[in-house]
């Protein structure tokens, strides 16, 4: 049984079709890459999986259970966590307090335990020294790490990283990539959405390419890169 099964999922916005019958199966522990040009439906798909949007048709199964009708917070409690493309920190709270929210609401930890776990996560992320800093004062790369740290505090089985490296410089990309590899080593299934090709290719075991709401190619990173449809989607119209 796959961890996440997306079956013939569709989503429309008025007359615009964002997703047209997308199907994906993701196994537990997998490192999965999702690519596609802007507007291809990647974020819409992620939103449907995480619960920010409701799919109009098709099924979304998590550990065998249909979750398409559940509100987002329930899905998080079931084990799906995501980071946001444009970081959305709780800006009036400190970095530590940001993590206490999912700790309390998902992991149901008491204050002292929650703080200890939060500090552990921040250490892995390299943010331990910023624990007391106000979230609004962080740099871009620190915000991206906070997004991932906060997702981790929800103790997910599936982590969706939505363009966590967008706009970051080379060394920073490596930093975030290292963190994602470490998390996967702990057993967390990761879906990575990225435009930075070298990151996706290094990280993913399997890649799917979306274009105009449909899957146009699925396979290993090497196969994807050589696929003419994928090349056309990125360089063509």
């Amino acid at each position: 049984m796959s961890l996440l099964a997306v079956r013939e999922v569709s989503k429309h916005f008025g007359g615009f079709t964002a997703l047209a019958g997308v199907s994906i199966e993701i196994a537990e522990g997998e490192r999965f890459g999702l690519i596609g040009p802007n507007g291809s439906g990647k974020t819409t798909l992620i939103n449907c999986i995480s619960g920010a949007l409701r799919n109009e048709s098709g099924q979304i199964l998590f550990r065998g259970r249909e979750i398409g009708g559940l509100p987002a917070y329930r899905r998080t409690r079931l084990g799906i966590a995501r980071s946001f493309q444009i970081p959305r920190p709780f800006h009036t709270m400190s970095v530590l307090e940001n993590l206490l929210v999912p700790s309390a609401y998902v992991a149901h930890l008491k204050e002292a335990e929650a703080e200890a776990e939060a500090m552990r996560i921040l250490a892995v992320m390299g943010l331990a020294d910023k624990a007391g800093a106000l979230a609004s004062r962080l740099s871009q790369v620190e915000l991206r790490k906070l997004e991932l740290a906060r997702a981790m505090a929800a103790r997910p089985r599936l982590l969706i990283s939505d363009e966590a490296m967008a706009g970051l410089a080379g060394a920073e990309v490596d930093e975030v990539l290292k963190i994602l590899f470490a998390l996967n080593a702990q057993g967390i299934t990761i879906i990575m959405i990225e435009h930075i090709m070298q990151a996706v290719m290094r990280f993913s075991q399997r890649v799917v390419c979306l274009d105009a709401g449909r899957i146009i190619c699925e396979g290993t990173p090497a196969a994807i890169v050589q696929n003419p449809d994928v090349q056309r989607a990125y360089l063509g119209a």
Binding site: Y73, P89, F90, T92, V101, A104, Y105, V106, A151
Partner: protein, 309 residues
């Protein structure tokens, strides 16, 4: 623990003052200021903590007043029962409005509260049992010993409600509920994805807020010996209940208290010495000034002065 000692001290002080020989006017004005403490504190639970602005405080407050009147007229209910019933009605209204509009963006909730305000007023204007547009005169029951006057007793009752409101607001603020509400205010999307049941928490805040506002409205008809729709359901309650926390500071429970005591007292003075119109002008101007220049309110300014964070 220090908090509860403080609460007890304040209540005993209020009680003591009521039994003393102080000027009757003090209680007359003090009752109104204390009403504002309750309204501002209640407003802040949803507005300050969760970020959902209520313009229609008058709807909950007025409905509380009218619930009390109906119970008094139909069953000669004692004040305590009137207050509890008013709180229940306020809670129900909060739930109704919340369920309908808290799923939507903040401004839709705000506009919906104005709609409820006018609809409530229209309903009461057209209900003959409570006197319609002209309202009702009410005869106060006998004052309970040892209070020298009914107004003094109401003063103590409102002091109790104010302290209750403060205790509830403080509990919400420091509990995990408060953290969830703050997460909602900072980024509702991220909160939802962090496992926060956003709609439930918002509804909770709305219900608690509505209940307190309703309770605050219950003794008002007895205070005035009179009730009528236009003043009970005035938009003016809304602007005060909003201005006081925004001026005092919305992040901490003490903000609305500071704002209510300060602005409430100013209002009493201005209304008596100048006019009611200038009173509303003062509230409006102070609101805009603080919102623009000092968004963290008086408490925020104080913190900056003392040098924290």
């Amino acid at each position: 623990m220090k908090f509860w000692i403080g609460i007890a001290v304040v209540f005993l002080a209020a009680l003591g003052t009521a039994l003393s020989g102080a000027n009757e006017y003090f209680f007359y004005a003090g009752y109104v200021v204390l009403t504002f403490v309750v309204l501002a504190t209640a407003w802040n639970i949803l507005g300050g903590y969760a970020g959902y602005v209520n313009f229609g405080t008058g709807a909950f407050f007025g409905l509380g007043s009218y619930s009390a009147v109906v119970l008094f007229k139909a069953l000669s209910a004692p004040l305590a029962l009137q207050i509890v019933a008013a709180a229940a009605v306020g809670a129900a209204l909060g739930f109704g409005v919340g369920i309908m509009t808290l799923r939507l963006r903040g401004i839709f909730f705000a506009i919906a509260t104005v709609a409820i305000l006018f609809i409530m007023e229209t309903l009461m204007v057209n209900w003959r049992y409570v006197g319609g547009a002209t309202g009702l005169q009410l005869l106060r029951p006998e004052v309970i010993a040892p209070f020298p006057s009914y107004t003094r007793m109401l003063f103590v009752v409102m002091a109790f409600l104010a302290l209750l409101a403060i205790a509830i607001a403080r509990y919400v603020q420091i509990s995990w509920i408060g953290r969830g509400l703050r997460a909602i205010r900072d980024s509702e999307e991220a909160a939802e994805c962090s496992g926060v049941p956003t709609l439930r928490l918002k509804l909770f805040a709305c219900v608690v807020s509505g209940a307190l506002m309703g309770a605050a409205g219950a003794p008002m008809p007895m205070y005035l010996s009179f009730v009528e729709p236009a003043s009970s359901f005035s938009l003016n309650w809304g602007v005060s209940a909003l201005a006081m926390p925004m001026i005092g500071g919305t992040a901490h429970w003490i903000g609305p208290v500071v704002g209510a005591l300060l602005l409430g007292s100013i209002q009493q003075i201005v209304t008596v010495t100048i006019s009611n119109e200038i009173n509303v002008l003062v509230v409006g101007v102070l609101l805009v000034l603080f919102v623009v220049l000092a968004p963290d309110g008086i408490v925020g300014l104080f913190r900056k002065l003392v040098g924290r964070k």
